[in-house]
């Protein structure tokens, strides 16, 4: 009898013993599933093929297909970047928060912009009423950006900016501030989110229709590959897809499908795969279901490596690596008993680290109530530091690799991801799928099912539908001063009064001309406009006029 047959024989014996136990002590539920509904075995056992496919399916850290991690030494070489997403109110207030975070041992910056900035409206635009400085910092002009990074040497930090539709403009602001600091473009390190497709699917801060939006993205790829070579030109994001209620599989599948669409667009624009693919980065959610999440990250790396090698024939290993940022799941945080959120975030942090993330934001306990207070942000950062320095999980690479449960879930998520990718390919790619409302509907159905389970008490949310207590209203919540819009408008008016009208006019006119000619790269003209103190809204309005605006296809 082979070893495997011996094991199977023993398993049958064990299972019959278990059956006897079950008759007396049934399990807690008729079926156990992951958070996304993948059925779980009671225990995972060796499979016949496990070692046979090791090199093909897992390989070594830093080797194809990168299941076990993108670097050969992973966290034994360098820990992940601890990068807390922050920004609110004015540039001055946010600048102070960044300096505080850096003083507390944070290793990278992550800028949150307010919604008017994200949608390309100036603070004095009527659309901006009520929103200025609320969910991030308000940036109208280069002047605001200079204040935001005052005293922070841009050649020494890496900065991530959550900006999509107007990403080219904010990148231009950043480059212009760096130049004023005497830092050249090629020294800049950081990331712009620049992922418009998931805005249509789940996040909502779109401006232009898909075609010109994707042109802006490929213009950024082309410009940065030469001028800003260490910049991550896009962060293809599953985070918001998951927050909107998708399953873990949908998060991976729709994100990679978005990635495939960008790669196709860049190739169609005449770029060589290895000139831009190494600067593509990803952004995932880390949810509560620890094992499923670890498997998800591993599966995502494996699928992307295969896509890049087999479909797009990338040759440079960097083009095959799925490098990603992670954020813990905001949607899992509860307004009830908010301190419990610290524990949720700790579990999600473990999942991200066991899954091999390159950088991490940990959410603060009070985010279901308001913007996080300084104390809450510190606890969130300390959570990462405890996992990094005390838990030991960073000291060996992919510590859950080889676990029967993890490998089986990794295979399963991979398989279901391919099925979605094939389906999306068959309808002509992600832009078509989005226009038909397909991913939106899939996500919404998943979200609806989960909420129904919570309402029915079938899915326990501690402190919400079980283990509840009577609570007092929370104290010490951070509020943004509602007078802030007025302050910001006054600053904006000063900038408008102090600039050269002729220079401004000329650069906006050049922008308009360039927008009409898709063979021209828009980045140099946008950079020139921001240096002449054109506002974000003025630049975006020229582009709105030329490109038109996207209309949501409502799916219910």
């Amino acid at each position: 009898m082979s070893d495997y047959q011996t094991i199977r024989e023993a398993v049958r014996q064990w299972e019959s013993n278990v059956d006897k136990v079950l008759q007396r002590f049934p399990e807690r539920k008729p079926q156990f599933c992951t958070g996304s509904g993948i059925p779980l075995e009671c225990v995972y056992l060796p499979t016949e093929q496990a070692s046979e496919h090791y090199l093909d399916k897992l390989g070594f850290p830093g080797d194809y297909p990168y299941t076990r991690g993108v670097q050969p030494t992973m966290y034994r070489g360098r820990l992940w970047t601890m990068r807390q997403y922050a920004g609110f109110g004015t540039a001055e207030e946010s600048n102070a928060r960044y300096k505080y975070l850096l003083s507390q041992g944070q290793t990278g910056l992550s800028v949150a912009f307010d919604l008017p900035t994200q949608i390309g409206y100036d603070s004095d635009d009527p659309h901006s009423v009520g929103e200025v400085g609320k969910v991030g910092v308000a940036i109208d002009t280069l002047g605001d950006m200079e204040i935001l990074f005052d005293g922070i040497p841009l050649d020494q930090v890496s900065t991530s900016m959550t900006i999509n539709a107007p990403a080219a403009v904010l990148l231009a602001f950043y480059i212009a501030v760096a130049e004023k600091q005497g830092v050249s473009k090629d020294k800049l390190r950081g990331t712009i989110q620049n992922d418009i497709l998931k805005e249509y699917i789940a996040r909502g801060t779109y401006i232009f229709p898909p075609k010109p939006s994707i042109r802006l993205i490929t213009d950024i790829f082309a410009f940065c590959s030469i001028e800003v070579p260490n910049w991550n030109t896009i962060s293809i994001s599953g985070y918001h897809i998951r927050e909107a209620g998708s399953t873990a599989v949908q998060e991976v599948a729709f994100t990679l499908a978005d990635g495939i669409e960008y790669v196709k667009a860049a190739l169609a624009a005449g770029l060589d795969i290895d000139d831009f693919a190494g600067r593509l980065s990803f952004f995932f959610n880390s949810h509560n279901d620890l094992l499923e999440e670890v498997a998800k990250f591993r599966a995502a790396r494996r699928v992307w490596a295969r896509v890049m090698q087999e479909k797009f024939h990338a040759r440079n290993p960097k083009s095959l690596m799925l490098r990603f940022h992670t954020q813990t799941a905001g949607s899992t945080l509860t307004a009830q008993q908010p301190d419990n959120n610290i524990v949720r975030v700790a579990i999600q942090t473990l999942a991200a680290v066991l899954g091999g993330t390159q950088s991490l934001h940990t959410n603060s306990r009070d985010e279901a109530l308001s913007l996080p207070s300084e104390e809450s942000v510190r606890i969130a950062l300390r959570t990462q530091q405890i996992v990094a320095y005390e838990s030991g999980v960073a000291d060996t690479i992919d510590p859950l690799g080889g676990s029967y449960a993890i490998e089986a879930l990794t295979d399963r998520i991979e398989e279901e991801t391919w099925a979605y990718l094939d389906k999306i390919e068959s309808v002509g790619g992600m832009v078509h799928a989005i226009e038909a409302g397909y991913p939106q509907k899939e996500i919404q159905d998943a979200a609806y099912a989960v909420q129904k389970q919570i309402e029915a008490g079938e899915r326990v949310v501690v402190g919400v539908n079980k283990f509840t207590v009577k609570e007092d209203a929370p104290k010490g919540l951070l509020r943004v001063d509602p007078r802030l819009r007025q302050v910001q408008i006054e600053k904006l008016q000063q900038v408008r009064a102090g600039r050269s009208a002729a220079e401004l006019e000329k650069s906006l006119h050049e922008l308009q001309t360039a927008a009409r000619d898709s063979s021209q790269n828009l980045l140099p003209v946008i950079l020139q406009a921001v240096q002449n103190y054109a506002t974000l809204g003025e630049i975006c309005n020229v582009l709105r006029q030329e490109f038109g605006e996207y209309r949501e296809s409502i799916v219910l």
Binding site: L115, P116, Q118, I119, H127, S128, V129, G130, E131, K134, V135, E199, A202, R203, G204, T205, E243, A244, G245, S331, T334, A335, Q336, A368, L369, S370, L371, Q444, A447, Y448, Q451, K452, E455, V461, V464, A473, P474, L477, R479, V480, P482, E552, I554, L556
Partner: protein, 135 residues
């Protein structure tokens, strides 16, 4: 036969977090109401225009960006300007307890915060049924 209650679920402001709004819309539809959803990024004026066109009894506003103190009352005021003050307005989202009294004072009749069960929303609608069907 009892007239079906008509509800508009709307998203004023600029935030794209529509998971809650879509859940409420769908769950209310499942509970037997006529429900219309505006989609995201609607101005108070366009919300009221839709409310009038669709002749709704309730407008439910969802906002997660923190702009509720400005935008919820703007919808109530615009309804009044258009002579539709009998439409009942309620709201939900990440709204601090300390803002709820202000919003109620401004004519937002109920505010539902995270973790509220759909039955609480249905109870509120049913408690106002007589009032809206007799308008």
């Amino acid at each position: 036969m009892e007239r079906k209650i008509r509800i508009l679920i709307a998203k004023p402001g600029l935030d794209g977090h529509d998971r809650g709004a879509k859940y409420i819309a769908r769950a209310l539809k499942d509970a037997g109401y006529e429900v219309i959803y505006t989609g995201i990024r609607q101005s108070p004026e366009s919300i009221v225009r839709t409310a009038l066109q669709e002749d709704v009894d309730f407008v439910g506003l969802s906002l997660l960006s923190g702009a509720h103190n400005e935008l919820f009352p703007a919808v109530v005021d615009e309804l009044q300007r258009q002579g539709a003050q009998d439409v009942v307005v309620f709201g939900g989202g990440v709204i601090p307890d300390s803002d709820i009294a202000y919003l109620r004072d401004k004519g937002v009749e109920a505010v539902f915060t995270p973790g509220t069960s759909i039955s609480a929303v249905i109870d509120f609608i049913e408690a106002n049924r007589e009032r809206v069907v007799s308008r």
